[in-house]
């Protein structure tokens, strides 16, 4: 529909400044409206005379920075318009620094536009149509972004490809006759979700055989773990008022489509999560990562019901996830992590059935950084990858074992093994190098001068190895944050800008509470880093961050290190034994294979212990 053309008088009621109005005038002219821009510094009565002189003025747009006594000046202007008999004929609008809608209304204006207003926003107001803000609006035109789109997964280092093929072949051969309680629960969960409620009793009879006592008690006696409670029906009911909430949103980028910005939620309560999600979506988050509690990952089986608890991370239940999913904006990417526990395959089934966009799997990280037994998590991980492929669910291969002391080249070797295995099984992996000030760099000094070169080297190395999507995480800037919110937001924004400069597909950012361990993250702290990232993206635009030549040198060293590790793992003949023996990170690095789930594997054919 073509908007009706309007006549607009633009009034810089300011001694000097009229730049904002010039930009707005250009936007209005481009849309075919008729505009008249007055010179700066006119008195209110002179402006009213011009309104009387002009024919059929529809809008008067006044620009003025608010300060001492300016409110009186603007109110006097409105009064003059009123006594001149013009008030019913024209719509009065004020804009400028410190202007807020409610202040504009107090002064008698019909609308007010404050700092950050775009010319397009004003044009939309003139044309009486809703304005879609920045990046999310752009995103909504194109729908959700597939982070793996356009990547060939072609290797650029054939020797590395050959070694990965050998290792992946070993994993599949070793896993062929093995299963686990986690694998079996995933199968049962899938059947239950696809057969409906009538199947429940039959499902539970078998499912609970594979669960820990804590989970069994919750199903049979509604007895929940400590600090855990069921959400009340009225709580769920009252939350509905936010379900179809639509409001003004900010963009986390300016003009450039990528990277998508993910935040991690998981306050322990799905209701609080939902409110944090709505805040983050509004402030420019493109994607959300469901953060689950570490305790749940060490328990065989998933609880059920709408559950809240008083610890970090929100419990993975079908009901909790479905509730959260129902509140997501249509274009928000949603990741349900499956990577680090005894419920890895079942979590992928939940994610797939609920229509999540992404999951997270990495057996090397899970065993070296998250306490899982290598054999158990390898079996569960292979099955999880199969489920991810079944649901066509891309997943990132996280490398947070760097935080346990594993050097980047070893963590990357593990990541590439899992990514290659995924490709063999029909999956769509996304590489997730960690942008961090890891123990490795603290010891060896790669970040003594700057945080740019070594992070850039990681990206350059992976880009030289394979044409695959990259999603630095998780979160970027790990171990550079402090409890100071300005410092924390700034370091996040700078790491985000570096990632953007390197052309990655997505990033995961922390809140400004990242380094605060005393309690839950507050919503305002999430806004801090989203806003800082937005401003940094705006500042750099298409201009890049230039690493020094050292980045290129380190990328070559990383590739050589990765290749050497893969050779050692391939020669060992066993991925799982390589994890136990520390080839992908061991005691000399400060990393030890985990023990959660040890001795729980079953023989596939007969369901017997291996």
């Amino acid at each position: 529909m073509v908007a009706e053309k309007k006549k607009i008088l633009l009034v810089p009621l300011d001694p000097v400044h009229d730049m904002g109005l010039k930009l707005i005038r250009k936007a209005l002219d481009d849309k075919g409206h008729s505009t008249v821009l007055l010179p700066p510094g006119m008195e209110p009565y002179e402006v009213v005379e011009r309104i009387l002189d002009e024919v059929e003025i529809d809008f008067v747009l006044v620009s003025r920075t608010l300060g001492y006594r300016v409110g009186e000046l603007l109110a006097r202007f409105v009064d003059l318009v009123e006594v001149s008999g013009l008030r019913d004929r024209v719509t009065l609008v004020v804009g400028g620094m410190a202007v807020r809608p409610e202040l504009a209304a107090e002064m008698g204006f019909d609308a007010g536009f404050g700092p950050g207003t775009t010319p397009g926003e004003v044009v939309a107001f003139i044309e009486d149509r809703p304005f879609a803000y920045g990046g999310r609006a752009e995103a909504s035109e194109g729908g959700k972004r597939d982070l793996t789109h356009g990547f060939s997964y072609v290797y650029r280092k054939k020797e590395i490809q050959k070694r990965l093929a050998a290792i992946a072949g070993d994993i599949m051969g070793w896993a062929a006759n093995k299963t686990s309680p986690g694998v079996e629960r995933a199968r049962l969960r899938f059947q239950a979700l696809n057969k409906g409620e009538k199947y429940r009793e039959e499902f539970l009879e078998e499912y609970l055989d594979y669960c820990d006592e804590l989970v069994v008690l919750s199903y049979k006696r509604k007895q929940l773990p400590d600090q855990t409670r069921f959400l009340a029906q009225d709580e769920l009911h009252f939350l509905k008022q936010y379900q179809n909430w639509e409001g003004r949103s900010k963009a986390a980028r300016s003009g450039i489509r990528k990277p998508d910005v993910f935040i991690q939620y998981g306050t322990g309560c799905p209701l609080m999560d939902i409110m944090h999600i709505k805040v983050c979506e509004a402030w420019g988050a493109d994607g959300l990562v469901h953060f689950d509690p570490s305790g749940g990952a060490r328990t065989e089986g998933l609880l059920e019901g709408y559950l809240a608890h008083g610890e970090d991370g929100t419990l993975l239940t079908w009901e909790n996830l479905r509730l959260i999913k129902n509140f997501l904006a249509p274009n928000t990417l949603w990741q349900v992590r499956a990577h680090r526990g005894l419920n890895t395959p079942e979590t992928v089934v939940l994610a797939g059935e609920l229509g999540a966009d992404l999951t997270k799997i990495n057996m090397a990280y899970a065993s070296l950084g998250a306490g899982m037994d290598p054999a158990r998590i390898t079996i569960d991980g292979v099955e999880a990858i199969r489920w991810a492929a079944h649901y066509d669910l891309p997943f990132d291969v996280v490398t947070n074992e760097e935080l346990s002391g594993v050097p980047a080249h070893k963590a990357f070797a593990g990541m590439l093994i899992i990514a290659h295995l995924a490709l063999q099984l029909g999956g769509r992996p996304i590489l997730q190098p960690l942008f961090c000030r890891s123990p490795e760099v603290m010891i060896y000094g790669q970040m003594r001068d700057n945080y740019i070169d070594y992070n850039a080297a990681k990206i350059l190395a992976l880009q030289q190895i394979i044409d695959a999507p990259l999603w630095p995480g998780a979160p970027i800037g790990f171990l550079t944050h402090t409890e100071d919110r300005v410092q924390s937001s700034l370091t996040t924004a700078l790491h985000a800008s570096l990632a953007r400069s390197l052309g990655v597909e997505a990033i995961s950012i922390a809140s400004s509470d990242e380094a605060y361990a005393g309690g839950p993250i507050a919503a305002a702290s999430r806004v801090d880093t989203l806003r800082a990232t937005h401003e940094a993206f705006r500042f750099f635009g298409r201009a890049g961050i230039q690493p020094t030549p050292r980045a290129r040198e380190w990328s070559k060293e990383l590739i050589a290190g990765i290749s050497k590790v893969l050779k050692d793992v391939a020669n060992s003949g066993s991925f799982v034994q390589s994890l136990y023996r520390g080839l992908l990170g061991g005691p000399e690095d400060g990393a030890y294979p985990g023990r959660v789930g040890r001795d729980t594997l079953l023989r596939k054919e007969k369901g017997k212990d291996v």
Partner: protein, 79 residues
Amino acid sequence: MQYAERILDAIDMETFILARDEGEAKGFMGRFLADLGFTDHDIVFLEQVGPGVRVRARAYIHRPGGSYGWLAEGDDNGG
């Protein structure tokens, strides 16, 4: 307000308020500061985005040119 006397000039509070608009949030925050006993306060920043309003409120303890409680406090404690 002995502790407050040690505040150099002002105390800021920033939060996210679920509110219909900035005016409502401003009112909530002003009343909240008054309830806390702050008589000289201002709203530094308000921005409605999403399901509520980001607010930064300020309570002045010592305005420039006023009587600085921390001068006396410093003297009491030997400077």
